[in-house]
C-alpha cells in the first residue's frame, strides 16, 4: 500500500501495523513520536495500530536546535 511519510509518498508492505512499519524502516521506537492522520499514536499502541492505504504519517525525533 502507499503511505505519505514525512511528506513523501512511499510504498510499504500491505496490511501491517505501525509497529511493523517502524521495524521495516529500521527505526528505534523508543526515540520517536508518530502522528497518524494528525493524531499522535502513543508508543504503547504501535502494535494495535493498523495502517491503511493513503495514511498520512509524521515520524519525528529530537535533533540539535537552539
Amino acid at each position: 500500500m502507499e503511505l505519505t511519510i514525512n511528506g513523501e509518498k512511499r510504498r510499504v508492505k500491505p496490511s501491517q501495523t505501525l509497529a511493523g512499519l517502524v521495524e521495516e524502516l529500521g527505526l528505534d521506537p523508543r526515540k520517536l513520536a508518530v502522528e497518524r492522520n494528525r493524531a499522535i499514536v502513543p508508543k504503547s499502541a504501535y502494535r494495535q495500530t493498523p495502517l491503511a492505504d493513503g495514511d498520512q504519517l509524521e515520524i519525528v525525533h529530537f535533533v540539535g536546535g537552539g
Binding site: 511519510i5 513520536a33 502522528e35 519525528v60 540539535g64 536546535g65 537552539g66
Partner: protein, 257 residues
C-alpha cells in the same frame, strides 16, 4: 554558595546556564561544549526522521538524555497551533512535559509573536505542560505569561543569534522585580560579559546557543560562559558597590611618612 539552586517546575538545577544544541560542527563538539559549560539542560528541536539516510548521527547518542534534561523547543513555529502540535509530539517522543515554547513572528527578526505565544502557553498549560516561554522584554506580557502559569519567563536580551547583548536592562530588571517564577534571559548573549550582565540584573539563568557554537573555540567559550554565569550570579547576590562620580582612595591616609 554552591548551595542555592535554580528551581524550574519543581526540578532543581545546580547550573544556571542552559545551552542550545544547534549550529555546532558536530554532535561530538556539541557534547564537549555541554560538558565544558556544566550545563544540565539543553534545548532540542523536533524534526522529521531522515528515512533515506539511516546512518546519520543521532543527538541522543552524544548527549545522553539521562544526563541532560532535554528541553524541546518550537523553533521554526510561527503559529500557536504549529507550536502546540510540535510540543505534543515532543512529549510523546521524550516522555516529559517540561518544554520551551517559542512562537516567532518572522524569519528576519525571529521576534516573539506575543499574542500567539500567550495563546499557546495557555493551551499547553491546560494540557499539562510545564512551559518555559521565550518572550519579548515587555514586562506587561511577562506578567500575563506568569499569571497564565508559565514555569519560567524567558525574555530576549536582543535578537536571536545577533550577539548584541542585553539591550534593555531596565525592562529585564522590571521583569525580575515582578516575577515569582524564574526569569531566564534567552537570546542575545554574544560574549561572557553579556551573560554576567544578565545575571547581575537578577536573572535566574541564561540560555544561549550561537555565542558558544559560533565562537572560534566553542569548547573554551562554553567554559567562559559557565564562569560568567556564576560570576554574575554571585555578584548579584553579593550586592555591588555604589557608583561614585569622583575618586575614593583604597589606602589609608593616616601614617604616611
Amino acid at each position: 554558595m554552591g548551595a542555592e539552586k535554580l528551581v524550574v517546575a519543581g526540578r532543581s538545577f545546580s547550573s544556571r546556564l542552559i545551552i542550545g544544541t544547534g549550529k555546532y560542527q558536530s554532535y561530538e563538539e556539541n557534547a564537549r561544549a555541554a560538558e565544558a559549560a556544566g550545563a544540565e539542560m539543553v534545548t532540542v528541536a523536533v524534526r522529521r526522521v531522515n528515512l533515506t539516510d539511516r546512518d546519520k548521527p543521532m543527538l541522543v547518542d552524544y548527549l545522553d538524555p539521562e544526563k541532560f534534561v532535554y528541553l524541546p523547543n518550537t523553533a521554526g513555529c510561527f503559529t500557536a497551533d504549529e507550536a502546540i502540535r510540535t510540543l505534543r509530539l515532543a512529549r510523546e517522543a521524550g516522555g516529559w512535559s517540561l518544554v520551551k515554547l517559542e512562537v516567532l513572528a518572522d524569519q528576519k527578526t525571529l521576534y516573539p509573536e506575543m499574542e500567539e505565544t500567550l495563546r499557546a502557553a495557555r493551551l499547553l498549560i491546560k494540557d499539562g505542560f510545564d512551559v518555559m516561554v521565550y518572550c519579548s522584554d515587555d514586562p506587561v506580557y511577562a506578567r500575563k505569561l506568569e499569571d497564565a502559569g508559565c514555569a519560567a519567563i524567558m525574555p530576549l536580551g536582543s535578537l536571536i543569534g545577533s550577539g548584541l547583548g542585553i539591550i534593555n536592562q531596565v525592562n529585564i530588571r522590571l521583569i525580575v522585580e515582578q516575577s515569582s517564577v524564574p526569569v531566564i534571559v534567552d537570546a542575545g548573549v554574544g560574549t561572557a560579559s553579556d551573560a554576567a550582565v544578565a545575571m547581575e540584573l537578577g536573572c535566574d539563568g541564561v540560555l544561549m546557543n550561537t555565542a558558544i557554537a559560533e565562537a572560534k573555540d566553542p569548547i573554551l567559550m562554553a567554559s567562559a560562559m559557565k564562569h560568567a554565569v556564576i560570576a554574575g550570579r554571585q555578584a548579584y547576590l553579593a550586592g555591588r558597590m555604589a557608583k561614585k562620580r569622583y575618586a575614593d582612595p583604597s589606602s589609608p591616609l593616616a601614617g604616611l611618612i
